[in-house]
Every structure is written in structure tokens, then in C-alpha cells.
Symmetry: C2
Subunit: 216 residues, 2 copies
DNA sequence: CCCCAGAAGTTGACGCCGTCAACATCGAGG
DNA sequence: CCTCGATGTTGACGGCGTCAACTTCTGGGG
């Protein structure tokens, strides 16, 4: 066992295939969306036979699931980054509202900068695939952050208590709907590029207006 | 040519294949979503060879497009039905707002009662498929109705003029996002059935609150 | 030291898919 | 009646996901 571990083993066997596959799958998804994640192509890119993937994934869908989790994590990072960029000085209510707004911006930043991954994050091939582990999203980091921000807003009095229930879902719906309609829906194709930014701000404005009460 | 047209011609040739194919494709989409629209299966159901479809559709995607247009039309019908069910008596502002709200309800009624068709209506296989005919959606009946309803609300003074631009897109985003998240997203799987209705009302409430000003 | 069990990857096959080129068939108009 | 164009069929190709059977590599115990 003198010098064996350093050589990069050109013809696979012992490089960490699983990670390599996941990475290749992510790249495919990034460029072409969920439909582009094709098991045989992933294997080809990694330089391995198609069936090799079955050592690590029970089926092709599981590979897509892996990408989905990666994408969801990146989405959460994007939101967190945007929220943390908001300066904390000034009226606490204003800060809370600004942070809430920023979370929406972070969501859309990710959706527009990585549309393929975003689409993959929300793809479910079949209408049903088990009562489910319950793990994949509502429990996800992104949702938790968003929920916490709404609590902040509530705590500063900038939201009426009766408006709090269901607020995360309404907010999520607005921002997600806008992303979806923009990325592969009609907005993306029919809206002049210069209006996109305007409309995006308006959507978030209307959401914030619906959720909060004016300051002072 | 005495009695030829009445006989139903069992072995295709001259029955209107195109319609039969479209209809079968719609049924597939209805039950299984866009992924279930498989050319060979459609042909099989109609009792015809797979390649027969190529007389009427240049490619399998064109068949899906056909379903998409049907689905979009049904969506518009559902919205129109809900809007027209609103009684016109009382304060015009209230009526306009009620009609606006009803359009959202009609949208969601369709999405939840025909999830497969709804998903198909908003599916686009590839990220790009031409600068596009521009026809498919923003010009669609549904969008026009929605836009008109917003104008009504504006005219009754229940919406501030500066809130009007971008309003249809914000509204569409909210309702569409809610539908998508509910049908094949996390809301559908993680939300107790009894809360669905509540959350749905809240989402629409928040939207209306964001778009309008209170009456009186 | 060697050797062998099991992990890691390959081969070849199957049935499904979309699509194409070549062929068969029907029915209306000269 | 006979031909010609529209309509549908056959058979093939390559790509896909998946499976069973095979090979090759590697580390740890005799």
C-alpha cells in the first residue's frame, strides 16, 4: 500500500462515482431542465456504462430526486443571501418588511439565474409516488426561512394577527407563480424584456401590500 | 353513391382521425398529465397504426399542443362560468371585486377538478421552440377576461390607478402559483385536506387586499 | 504472501418510445 | 373503368430505462 491512493485511476473503479453522477446530472438539469436528466447521457458523460448508475440509484427518477434536493438547497441559499443583505438599522417594522421582500427577491433571483435547476426542483414525474417521506419541501430550509420572516413582521405589528395564518402559502404562491409563468410560461415569451423587472416589482409590491399594514 | 356515407367504416379510412386522435390524447392528459400523452398509445386507443398520426401532426409534440389549446379553452370557460355566476346587484365596486375574486375561484376550480389538463395547459417541453407565434396564452381568452375584470374594478374606484399596471400578472401569479404548488407541489402532499380550502381563501383574500382599496 | 469474497462496473438483451421510407388500399373524378 | 392522390400500414432505426449474467478489481484473513 505504498503509493496506490494518489494515482487518479483513469478507468473507474473507486473514484466516487455517485458524486460524479450527481454532478453530471445537475449540469444536465442546469442547462436543459428536468427532461434533460437522462440516465444514459449522465453515465456517458462520466465515462461509465449506463447500468453502473444502478449501484447507487434504484431508478433514474432517484437521480432526478438527487438533483432536486441540490436545487432546493441552492434555492434556500439564494433566499438566505438576499435576506441577510438587508441592513438591520432603522425601524424594526420596516426592517422586517424589507427582509420579507428580500426573501421573495432571493427566490426569483435563483429562479431566473438557474431556470433549469429551478424547474427541476419542482418537478414530479408522476401524480402519485407514495404517501411520501414528507421530507422534500414544506420542511425545507426555504420554507422555514420564509415562515420565520413572517413571524418577524407580525411581531413588529406590521401585520394583523388574523392575517398571519396561511400567509406563507399566499406569499409562496405569488412568487412561485410569477417564476413559473416567467420561466416556461407565457410571461417569458410575450413580455418585452424591459417590462419584466417592472412587473416583478409590482407583483412583490402587491403581495406585501396584501400581507402587511402600512408603517406609522 | 346510394348508401355509402352512413355506414360507420370500421377499419379506419375516412372517419375523422384527427379529431379521434385529439380526443384520445385529451383523455390521456386528463388522467395522467402531459407525460401520459404518448403518440403510440394514442394511436393504439383509436385503433390505428402509430404512424397514421403523422398525416395530421408533424410530430408528437404537436399533438400535445393540441391538447394544450383544448385545456386552455376549458380553463377560460371555467373562469367565465364562475364570473357570470356573480349576481350583479348592489354596489358596483363590490360587484366588480366579487367578479374579480370569482375569476380566481374559477381558475382554481378548473385546476383542481382537471389537474391533468391543467398541467398540460402549462407544459413546454423545451426551453426554446421558436420566437413563437405569440398566440398561445397571453392573447388567450382567460387572460383577456381577467384583464377586463381589473378594468372594471379600476372604473368603480376600488383600485388606485397606479396599482393597475402589472395587476393582471400579479393576480395571475398568485392564483397560478397556488394551483401549481397544490397540484404537483408540496402543498398538495403536505397540507391536511381540511386546510386546503382555508388556505385557498386566504391566498385570494391577500391578493384582493393587495390589489384593491376597501369599499366606502 | 496469496487468495478469494464481495464490491464495482460491463455486456447484451428486452420492450418501450418517436420517427422515417417504402408500401398498400380506398374512393372519387376524368 | 381506371387511374391518381389521400389515407393508413409495415418494417426498420436509434435512443431510452431496466434486468440478469458476466467480468474485474481490491482489501483483509488464512
Amino acid at each position: 500500500m505504498a503509493t496506490p491512493k494518489t494515482a487518479p485511476r483513469d478507468r473507474y473503479h473507486h473514484g466516487d462515482l455517485r458524486n460524479a453522477l450527481t454532478e453530471a446530472a445537475c449540469e444536465l438539469a442546469r442547462v436543459g431542465g428536468p427532461a434533460a436528466v437522462v440516465l444514459r447521457e449522465v453515465a456517458r458523460r462520466v465515462g461509465v456504462s449506463a447500468t453502473a448508475a444502478y449501484r447507487y440509484f434504484a431508478a433514474a427518477d432517484d437521480l432526478v430526486d438527487e438533483v432536486k434536493h441540490v436545487a432546493l438547497a441552492r434555492l434556500a441559499e439564494s433566499i438566505e443571501r438576499a435576506v441577510n443583505a438587508v441592513p438591520l438599522e432603522g425601524d424594526p417594522g420596516d426592517v422586517a418588511v424589507a427582509r420579507l421582500r428580500a426573501s421573495g427577491e432571493g427566490y426569483l433571483d435563483f429562479a431566473f439565474s438557474e431556470p433549469g435547476l429551478f424547474q427541476t426542483a419542482f418537478s414530479h414525474e408522476e401524480i402519485e409516488h407514495a404517501p411520501n417521506e414528507g421530507k422534500d419541501f414544506a420542511e425545507s430550509a426555504a420554507f422555514q426561512i420564509f415562515s420565520g420572516l413572517l413571524d418577524e413582521v407580525l411581531a413588529t405589528g406590521r401585520m394583523k394577527p388574523e392575517a398571519r395564518p396561511g400567509a406563507e402559502i399566499a406569499g409562496w404562491s405569488m412568487v412561485h407563480g410569477f417564476a413559473v409563468l416567467s420561466i416556461d410560461g407565457p410571461l417569458g415569451r410575450h413580455l418585452p424584456e424591459e417590462m419584466k423587472g417592472f412587473v416583478r416589482q409590482r407583483a412583490i409590491d402587491i403581495l406585501i401590500r396584501g400581507l402587511t399594514v402600512p408603517g406609522d
